[in-house]
Amino acid sequence: MQIPYTLQFINLLAALLLLIAFAMLAQRRILSLINLFAWQGALLAVSTFIVAYSTNQHHLYYSAGLTLLLKVLLLPWLLHRLINRLNVRWDVETLINIPTTMLVGIALVIFSFNLAAPISQLAEGITRGLIGIALASVLLSLLMMLTRRKAVSQVVAFLALENGLFFAATSATQGMPLVVELGIALDVLVATFIFGVFFFQIRETFDSLDITHMEKLKDD
């Protein structure tokens, strides 16, 4: 049968999302990391919009707009300002070298696809297979979190993880109830502000954002 264009398009977006996730995993420079994050947000917004259009649920339009506002404009802007204020334009040092990370990432993707396969079977309509991708990007961001040693890049990874979730929430399940999405958005916002506060505090206490300084608390 002829697959509807919307579905094809969403699948394409999903693929791009995954691609960007990989790109972030591979990325060494923090600025471009943030830009990539913004792009991811944009993809997310678009896909949400399409889902909203194809299933014409109105509240999805709101959340698409919200995504655009938050993740494409507000957060990247905030992060940029932070970086300028703290002038931390260094390269991202990773704990594990990039190729290894990539290999692990690929393994994760395969794993999550297998995991999602049975679920995809029972998903009808346009969302087939998206769970897998969402799961994959979540796991990839998680991997990124635990390979980066700068606070900022960890935060970006965290936000990317949120993106993956959001993608699952909208595209895969065609939108959670509005209340939930508003709540989620709010939390993300607050979280980011708190992150900001933290950056300054950490900065002024450790005069660096390298979180490897923060390994004092342990059982000895």
Binding site: L95, F111, L139, L142, L146, R149, M214, E215, D219, D220
Partner: protein
């Protein structure tokens, strides 16, 4: 009629409540310590007496039952008062009566605040022990048991500024708690049916376990209660904790609390479990023998008088365990008359030990107050300074040495009779074991005499080893009364065995369905099985000895003269004697240490002949501590360091934990 049947339990209920009130009052009255000493403790002694009376009463009437609206929703507190509880209540009441009276005098010197607190803990301790004896479901038993442990722990650590005492308290409560866990497990094994209601003792009685599980229950109980009683190898806490406590508390712990553990073993083995196996008996017998010999051996080499008594308590617990083992063996092989004999011996010895050990412990309390000295090597000659304490403690010493006509001898006599009557058991191994066991018992008894001669001789006799002792004062009036009561109890228990055995028969009847009875048929002669086999009459014995003595003295005085001349001791014409030439405690124990050398971990520094200031230091340690306990400690530390490695402060690794956990779980779906 019912109310009359229930009545003993009611009396006990009131007594317990009254005790709680007294304890609280003590806490409130801490501003006026005089009131606590002269009013509260005597009152509490009266309560003890009522408790003992109720226990005696309970022996005759049918078991009383009561369910309190307390405890868990589906498992309220069950109380039950049967002959077994009754006997131990008599023990508790009788001993605590004397000890409480004594305390009235003993704690006079104590500061108000501490005294108030101590008064509260003291009474909670008594209440805890009482409830242990009454509990009829697992939950209440555990609550009472641990409350008892907790109260006694706080009592032990009364003067907690001394690090050793803190250490003792820690060791004590830790082992007690481990034991409690084992007891809980054993109850869990014995639970009847399912649901929480299966934890009433009635449910356990009705439950039928296969040999494996009942053995498991027995072993767990033996371990748990053994830990409380100080059975090898769970004894290490006892010689630390008992000396650490104030003397009246040591008296209660040694005299009464250890018996609650014996009570627990009896309750579980003969009441809750419906079948017994012969090898349980052998196990108990063996453990008991080991404990007895070990205890007396270490008692012989102690220099601290309270430690010595504590070790002697270990010995007596060993004897009790031997009695229990014999009872089990006989019961399993259907020789219930003999089982009754062994059980009677056990219970009798419990009573006796409660009395004379309490007496001796409070006696050491008086000495401690008079001299401020626990090390026997610095005492001596106190019989002239404190005649009352000396006289009363002499009774205790003779009793604990198992000398006729006092009470210690009666129970040992019964125990040995049980051994002598044992042949004819189907199992030849046990038949072989029995004489050896009897021999070991005899050995332990003889050694006990050795220990006690050392104890009394070094403390009370000879010349004072320190000048400070010249100012030692005798026990005050309350203390004398308390000690007097316990000494009296020793004498009475020794002279009226027939009556006591008659009372104990209620217990044998309940647990074994058999009675010892008295073949002699009159109240003078005690003849367990048959007059032809054995009989003993302490009364005639006493009369004869006294008669012969009086006869001799009268004759001597009458035929010759009573002239006496005082002079310096002759001592083989040895000139210039000082008090330092007497045997010290350690010197007196030295032969034993030498004979049983392999059992001790001895470290000594002996001065060379050329030392200008020669000093001797010797210490005999318990090897078991190094063999059993330290490895466990090290293992725990190793494991905990492993656990500590989890927490090394690097957030990436923490995230990795999350990540790995997630992935693993996802994989294993």
């Amino acid at each position: 009629m019912d109310d009359i049947v229930i009545l003993p339990l009611d009396v006990i209920g009131w007594s317990v409540q009254f005790w709680i009130v007294l304890g609280a009052a003590g806490l409130l009255l801490q501003r006026v310590p005089r009131l606590i000493n002269d009013v509260i403790f005597p009152l509490s002694a009266l309560v003890s007496l009522s408790l003992a009376a109720a226990g005696l009463w309970a022996l005759a009437v049918a078991p009383g039952v009561m369910v309190l609206p307390l405890g868990l929703p589906d498992l309220p507190f069950h109380l039950r008062l049967d002959p077994l509880s009754g006997i131990f209540l008599i023990l508790l009441g009788g001993a605590s009566f004397g000890v409480s009276l004594y305390s009235a005098g003993y704690f006079k010197s104590m500061a108000g605040g501490t005294l108030g607190l101590l008064c509260l803990q003291y009474h909670l301790f008594l209440v805890g022990m009482t409830l242990v004896l009454l509990a009829d479901d697992a939950y209440m038993f555990m609550v009472a048991w641990e409350a008892m442990a907790l109260a006694s722990y706080f009592l032990v650590t009364t003067d907690h500024s001394i690090p050793d005492i803190r250490k003792a308290g820690y060791l004590y409560l830790l082992i007690a708690h481990v034991g409690a866990i084992a007891i809980l497990l054993s109850f869990g094994v014995m639970q009847g049916g399912n649901g929480i209601a299966a934890y009433t003792f009635d449910a356990m009685r009705s439950a039928h376990l296969d040999p494996f599980w009942s053995s498991a229950a027995f072993l767990l109980a033996l371990f748990g209660f053994g830990a409380k009683a100080g059975v090898l190898p769970m004894h290490v806490w006892l010689p630390e904790a008992h000396p650490a406590a104030p003397s009246p508390v040591s008296a209660l712990m040694s005299g009464v609390m250890l018996k609650t553990a014996i009570y627990g073993i009896l309750r579980v083995t003969f009441d809750l479990l419906d079948t017994q196996l012969w090898w349980w008996g052998v196990l108990a017998l063996g453990l008991g023998l080991l404990t007895a010999v070990f205890g007396v051996m270490f008692a012989a080499v102690q220099g601290d008088m309270k430690r010595l008594l504590a070790y002697s308590s270990i010995e007596n617990i060993g004897l009790l365990l031997v009695g229990i083992g014999l009872t089990i063996i006989f019961h399993v092989y259907g020789k219930d008359a003999l089982a009754a004999l062994a059980l009677t011996a056990t219970l009798y010895h419990s009573l006796n030990h409660a009395m004379f050990k309490s007496l001796l412990f409070i006696g050491t309390g008086s000495i401690l107050h008079a001299t401020g000295e626990r090390n026997m090597g610095r005492l001596g000659g106190l019989i002239r300074r404190m005649p009352w304490a000396a006289a009363l403690m002499l009774v205790g010493v003779l009793a604990i040495s198992g000398l006729p006509p006092l009470n210690g001898f009666v129970s040992e006599w019964l125990l040995l009779q049980a051994f002598l009557l044992s042949p004819g058991l189907p199992n030849s191994y046990i038949n072989m074991l029995v004489p050896v066991a009897a021999a070991v018992i005899a050995l332990a008894a003889a050694l006990a005499a050795y220990v006690m001669v050392k104890f009394y001789g070094v403390i009370f006799l000879g010349q004072p080893r320190e000048h400070a002792l010249e100012h030692a004062h005798d026990a005050d009036i309350w203390e004398r009364i308390g000690m007097g009561w316990l000494a009296l109890a020793c004498v009475v228990l020794g002279l009226a065995p027939v009556f006591v055995v008659g009372q104990l028969d209620h217990v044998s009847q309940m647990l074994l369905g058999a009675q010892l009875g008295n073949a002699a048929g009159n109240w003078v002669f005690l003849a367990p099985v048959d007059t032809e086999r054995a009989s003993y009459s302490p009364l005639y014995f006493l009369l004869a000895v006294l008669g012969v003595m009086l006869l001799a003295s009268v004759l001597v005085r009458h035929l010759y003269h009573g002239r006496v001349r005082r002079s310096d001791p002759w001592d083989c014409g040895f000139p210039a004697q000082t008090a330092r030439m007497q045997d010290t405690a350690e010197g007196f124990g030295q032969p034993i240490r030498r004979i049983f050398e392999p059992f001790f971990k001895i470290e000594r520094e002996v001065p060379s002949p050329f030392d200008t200031h020669p000093r001797y230091h010797g210490q005999s340690d318990d090897r078991l501590w190094y063999i059993l306990y330290l490895p466990v400690k090290h293992l725990t530390e190793k494991l905990s360091s492993l656990a500590g490695m989890l927490q090394h402060g690097r957030i990436h690794l923490y995230l990795t934990y999350t990540f790995v956990t997630l992935v693993v779980l996802l994989v294993f779906v």
